[in-house]
């Protein structure tokens, strides 16, 4: 470089630096926001061509594919021609648009969208992915979610749900003011009110479970007439990552007690003597699983503790209550909890033979050497393990009602 002056060298260096900066990768894709379709929900069903697709096929549309999956994409629609101008005048139109396509590769299907709609879809705002349980029974989560995990648009905090019916139905709403995906996304926030709602399973958590080949539960959604309800949970088996069965609401409660992560909820029991309603509201919930190893025999001991308040009782009819009554309410509630635990355990242990409550994790912590030997057929061993459980509920307050 001897023949160049220091000024030339500096110019060369600064140009080099700025060029390198410009070569960096980044989000270069330019597209004005109003020219994009924001997808907020994705539903995956078993392959079943819509009537529209059948008509297209008749006209000669189509390509080489297997009709395995029908996806329904929910798009927030603010841009339709009828909606330009005053926002208030379009209360007759739905604020969203559901588009369905049938085929096999999810990625290809999503790109097919471009052949039908003017605005390309972006996945940044995808909030919920709902999977039909029949589809999940046949295909593993690895395949179903692969595209969603790879796509760098889709956020890993997008939530995954199961639907026992058609997901298309779950992505519909009756009124014109509701965006169904937002409704489902918002309902997850109610976990502090009831532990019938599972803690949200985001895409990233599902991925972790998938990679660990662990079993897990996904919130189940029921949909009827444009209304939805969170009911029970779908159980995914770790080894296959496929749906094995569903827990109903009571069974889910039982499993939730064992997991002990609930933030609030109700235990409704009947008073033993009067058969009247007593309701216990959970303030805190704690569970501890202990594993024991005797020879090859694995057993577990679950200790569940909870503080709560007496929120409703139909027994005393305004009379003062005594300590004995509190005791009896606690007992009644404990009995009720034990009943649900039994139901839940029976389902996951005996029927589905999947460990979704974290027994294996405790065992691996407490007996790491043994765990290495048994972890490959853990589900089988788990189904034979002896599980004892003990429930202690404590009423710490009686609410605001005067003197009682």
């Amino acid at each position: 470089m001897g023949k160049y002056s220091s000024f030339q060298k500096r110019c060369f260096l600064s140009i080099l630096c700025s060029m390198t900066l410009l070569m960096q990768t980044g989000c270069w894709s330019k597209g004005e926001i109003e020219d994009l379709s924001i997808s907020v929900g994705l539903g995956l069903d078993q392959g079943n061509e819509t009537s529209l697709e059948k008509k297209f096929d008749k006209l000669g549309a189509g390509y080489k594919k297997k009709d395995l999956i029908t996806y329904t994409l929910q798009i927030v629609d603010k841009q339709s021609e009828s909606k330009s101008g005053d926002v208030k005048s379009d209360s007759g139109a739905k604020p969203y648009l559901n588009v369905s396509e049938t085929g096999d590769s999810l990625f290809e299907l999503l790109r097919e969208f471009s052949t039908r709609m003017e605005r390309p879809v972006i996945g940044h705002h995808l909030k919920v992915i709902i999977i039909n349980e029949q589809l999940s029974r046949k295909m593993s989560m690895n395949n179903l979610l692969d595209f969603n995990l790879r796509d760098n648009d889709i956020r890993p905090n997008c939530l995954v749900f199961m639907s026992s019916g058609l997901t298309k139905k779950a992505l519909e709403a009756k009124g014109n003011s509701v965006i169904p995906s937002f409704r489902i996304f918002g309902m997850v926030g109610n976990t502090y009110r009831t532990f019938k709602i599972l803690p949200p399973m985001s895409l990233i958590k599902v991925e972790a479970k998938m990679n660990a080949k662990a079993s897990y539960m996904l919130q189940n959604i029921l949909a009827v007439d444009g209304e939805v309800k969170f009911s029970g949970a779908a159980v995914i088996k770790g080894a296959t990552q496929k749906f094995v069965g569903r827990l109903n609401e009571e069974e889910l409660l039982g499993v939730s007690w064992i997991i002990g992560k609930g933030k609030g909820g109700v235990v409704k029991a009947y008073d033993e003597k009067t058969k009247q309603i007593v309701a216990y509201e959970i303030k805190s919930m704690k569970s501890k699983i202990h594993s024991q190893l005797k020879g090859d025999q694995i057993s577990f001991n679950v200790q569940i503790e909870s503080d709560g308040r007496l929120s409703e009782e139909w027994v005393n009819q305004g009379q003062t209550m005594d300590a004995g009554f509190i005791k009896s309410v606690e007992e009644a509630a404990e009995k009720e909890v034990k009943r649900t635990i039994k139901l839940g355990l029976n389902k996951i242990q005996k029927e589905y033979k999947t460990d979704v409550a974290g027994f294996g994790k405790r065992f691996s912590i407490e007996h790491p050497k043994q765990w290495k030997k048994v972890k490959d057929d853990w589900d089988e061993l788990f189904s034979e393990a002896d599980i004892r459980y003990d429930v202690k509920l404590k009423i710490t307050e009686m609410g605001a009602k005067d003197g009682h």
Partner: protein, 473 residues
């Protein structure tokens, strides 16, 4: 000879008269209106003409020492000296038989009274501002307090129209090298005319390509005094109320004297607010463009949806849309400045409200953009220095183009480029970004945060003062 000059200078008056018993011919020559007639009549004419009964020796020394009761008197026989003096208000007395003309300073100063500075209003602080007369301005500096070390170096600038220029500094505070450098740069000015101190600023600044002002101009004597007491140097030019302060650093452009007059918590908060406002004024439209056109995923979902709803039907891309509104608001601001005072506010209403509202109604721009543009405009008004405000307004457009080309990455690149420029820039040898770069911890007491006054015991380190302690104890 003076009668010849009268052809060129019609405003010259020549008054001839006789002195003493001998009746020596004499004449005074002065310029109408520039010379003070009271002084001429009472101290020159009356004094000389009252000698008519006496037999006096007519000599320069006699007249100066015993007759003319005026402070400023000089002698000259050079026509090139006498004529310019007459033309700025002196009176020349020529007497038959004497070789020298007696020059008597009779200039009357029609100066504007001292008013509150218009361009730098304060809630709390002295209500005085400089005016257009150099002597008044230096007097304002002197009046600040008894201070024998306040030095004023007088210089003449302008080849054709000579003007007084004063370099002010505190003798035992300012770095002598700095004073010398200022003197050197000022003396190198060889332009024929300097209408305003902006000329001086542009002729002595370090980097003419930089968008940042490297000299601070101010109308406030208290700001000048504050700068002098930190060891800076001020330059005052005759004929303008704007004094120049050098060296300047970036943080000074976002400071106001009020930061020091208010209590330190309030001062600090206001100062941080101004830094924040500067960022908003610089980057908001650019961020708007990059969010809308490149990163829809970075907007919260509900906001994204409402932005879509608002932008449906807008026929332009976000850059064009933002440019339309930004240019419109710059035109409005410029027009508002130039308008006569009574029409100004009406203009703001017409421009801001009606055009903004109508542009949204007509679907030319989206309501979100109107918010962005107005927030930007208001933020840029929060910059206390007008010239720094202009800088940010200029750079805002550059940021918008960068963002339209490369999105958020472009904004980041632009900001990096700007930072590297600021770091490299110097004002009279002092790095523009100090005390951030080069780092000087003790100067941070008066940077983003204005620490309590009792804690600021030292003058800014970066100025290399000869006396660094501000508080002795």
């Amino acid at each position: 000879m003076f009668y010849e000059q009268k052809n060129n200078h019609s405003d010259i008056t020549i008054r001839e008269f006789l002195i003493g018993k001998q009746g020596v011919k004499a004449a005074i020559i002065f310029t109408n209106c520039l010379a003070d007639l009271v002084t001429i009549d009472q101290h020159i004419l009356r004094a000389l003409m009252s000698l008519r009964e006496q037999d006096v020796p007519i000599s320069e020394s006699y007249l100066i020492n015993q007759v003319l009761s005026v402070s400023y008197i000089s002698l000259s026989d050079d026509m090139d000296v006498i004529l310019p003096k007459i033309l700025i208000g002196s009176t020349a007395l020529i007497i038959d038989g004497l070789s020298n003309a007696i020059l008597i300073k009779t200039a009357n100063s029609h100066s504007r009274s001292i008013e509150e500075p218009i361009s730098e209003a304060l809630v709390r602080g002295p209500r005085t501002g400089f005016n257009e007369t150099l002597s008044d301005n230096t007097a304002l500096l002197r009046k600040h307090g008894e201070n024998a070390s306040l030095s004023l170096i007088s210089m003449q600038v302008g080849a054709r129209a000579k003007k007084g220029l004063i370099i002010a500094y505190i003798k035992d505070l300012a770095d002598p090298a700095l004073v010398e450098e200022v003197q050197r740069r000022v003396s190198k000015i060889s332009i024929d005319n300097l209408p305003e101190s902006g000329y001086v600023e542009q002729l002595i600044e370090d980097n003419f390509l930089s968008p940042f002002p490297q000299v601070q101009s101010t109308e406030r004597p208290d700001r000048v005094i504050g700068a002098l007491m930190e060891g800076r140097v001020a330059i005052l030019l005759d004929g303008t109320p704007f004094a120049l302060i050098v060296p300047v650093t970036f943080s000074m452009l976002l400071q106001s004297p009020e930061d020091y007059y208010e209590r330190w918590l309030a001062g600090t908060l206001l100062r941080m607010l101004r830094f924040f406002a500067a960022l908003i004024a610089l980057l908001t439209p650019a961020l708007y463009i990059s969010f809308i056109a490149f990163h829809p995923g970075l907007i919260p979902t509900k906001l994204a949806i409402s932005i879509i709803g608002a932008r449906v039907g807008v026929p332009f891309s976000s850059l064009i849309e933002a440019l339309i509104m930004e240019v419109a608001i710059e035109i409005l601001r410029e027009a508002g400045l130039r308008l006569p005072k009574p029409i100004g506010p009406a203009m703001g209403i017409v421009g801001g409200l009606i055009i903004g509202e109508a542009a949204v109604q007509a679907g030319i721009v989206s309501p979100i953009l109107v918010i962005v543009v107005s927030v930007t405009a208001i933020s840029s008004f929060a910059i206390p220095q007008y010239s720094a405000g202009i800088t940010l307004r200029m750079l805002r457009f550059a940021a918008m183009f960068c963002s339209a080309a490369f999105g958020m990455y472009g904004v980041v690149l632009f900001f990096l480029l700007l930072l590297s420029h600021i770091v490299k820039l110097k004002s009279f040898g002092i790095p523009y970004a100090s005390p951030a770069v080069p780092y000087s911890l003790s100067d941070w007491k008066d940077f983003f945060v204005r620490m309590p006054i009792f804690m600021m015991k030292k003058r800014p380190e970066m100025l290399q003062n000869t006396d660094s302690k501000r508080q002795k104890k």
